[in-house]
Amino acid sequence: MSIAVLYALVGIGLFCLGVYALMIHAHLLRKILALNIMGSGVFMVLLALAGRTEIMPDPVPAAMVITGIVVAVSATAFALALMLKISAVTGRAELNDEEEK
């Protein structure tokens, strides 16, 4: 097993942990954390597998990951702001399931 595969597997683990946490947690901050960790997992897979070479590692995944990180921080900032707004309006930083009915 190479270092690339090792980190790729770690990335998969992070991604799946994130998905699981996203599904079961009620608190929005946790959900946002979960999304970030999922994102890190994807980035790790993307970048780890770029190292399957003996010459210079592939720079394209690195560029993609940098783009991804910036997109992730944008989304996180927006999500946090939305969470604060929800908390200010409803008093809870959770999704209101009852309201649907």
């Binding site: 270092i3 595969v5 770690v10 009620a26 592939d58 990180i69 910036v70 992730a72 921080v73 008093g91």
Partner: protein, 325 residues
């Protein structure tokens, strides 16, 4: 590629396990504050992993944005949430809060979610193991065209020349997030009024240094690790520090001048795109002889805008609307 040596095994194995453990703790420890701190630690360990994966550019971006700025955002949001709770002023609030922080859905649902997730993990793992152990991706293509790109750092070449269109849209995403947040009309937090002399001093000392580092990262990005995003986030961090120390943009600058700063990166990008289109008939096609200059201009303006946007994201509320609300 040779098999891993024992030491590599040890280091990479530890990083991997550490990442998984930190992620697990960050997601499932009972207290939210701890979770955030663990997440920041996770981000730092990620940085180490990026270094191990020979991606110093990503490591820089991760430490500045992924761990640093995201961490700051999370912490400040957490603090604001707590303020809301405190304002509600209930005797049992601490207990309530802790309960809500670790509240999950019903246990039945845990299993319902865990099963497909596990299946997915197995499937993905199998899929990754099936990949050929050797692949060069696009590295040769990048290397061949690097000379024409105007920079010698391949990652910068990809970001600002080969796939500059992605970067253009990405800056748009960043700007969009800020506009989105501003349209939420969040009230500015009132409690930041108390000034701390030590923090003030730290801000005064660090801001020039951060400026310097930012400029360095911007400049060095052409041929080594660094670039607009890293530089912008370091500069943005200076802004965050200033905000934390209680410094605010004067109202005269918070209107149009601020908005212009926020969009100057994207606007320059578009302007260059259009110019190149008119000149060479192709969107964002830089003539190789002037590519390095164009990229430098793009990066400089982008750094400025990114820094301003990141700091504004951290502030949350719209500075020129603060007195209206």
């Amino acid at each position: 590629m040779e098999a891993l040596s024992l030491l590599q095994w040890l280091i990479d194995g530890l990083i991997g396990i550490g990442l998984l453990w930190l992620a697990w703790r960050a997601l499932f420890c009972p207290e939210l504050f701890k979770a955030i701190v663990l997440f920041i630690a996770f981000g730092l360990l990620m940085t180490l992993a990026w270094v191990r994966l020979k991606a110093p550019d990503v490591a820089l971006a991760e430490v500045a944005i992924g761990a640093g700025l995201t961490g700051a955002l999370l912490l400040s949001s957490w603090a604001k949430l707590r303020d809301f709770d405190a304002n509600k002023g209930m005797g049992v609030r601490e207990k309530n809060r802790v309960q809500s922080e670790q509240k999950t859905k019903r246990p039945f649902f845990h299993w319902l979610s865990a099963t497909p997730v596990l299946l997915m993990a197995v499937g993905l793992g199998y899929g990754v193991l099936q990949l050929s152990p050797y692949a060069t991706g696009l590295s040769t293509a990048v290397a061949e065209n690097l000379d024409a790109s105007g920079v010698s750092n391949p990652v910068t070449a990809v970001l600002l020349n080969f796939r500059a269109y992605d970067t253009l849209l990405e800056i748009a995403v960043l700007l969009l997030a800020l506009i989105g947040i501003w349209s939420l009309e969040i009230r500015p937090s009132v409690r930041e009024a108390t000034l701390d002399p030590v923090l003030d001093l730290l801000a005064r000392l660090l801001t020039p240094l951060l400026l310097l580092v930012s400029a360095y990262l911007l400049w060095v990005g052409a041929h080594a690790s660094g670039g607009a995003f890293q530089a912008g986030s370091v500069l943005g961090a200076a802004g965050v520090l200033l905000i934390l120390a209680g410094w605010r943009l004067p109202l005269s600058l918070a209107g149009l001048p601020l908005r212009i700063t926020l969009v100057v990166g994207l606007s320059t990008f578009i302007a260059v795109a259009v110019l190149m289109m008119l000149d060479r008939g192709q969107l964002l096609a830089f003539p190789p002889s002037q590519a390095s200059l164009i990229i430098f201009v793009l990066e400089t303006t982008a750094t400025l805008s990114i820094a301003a946007i990141l700091a504004a994201l951290f502030l949350g509320s719209r500075p020129d609307h603060s007195e209206k609300i």
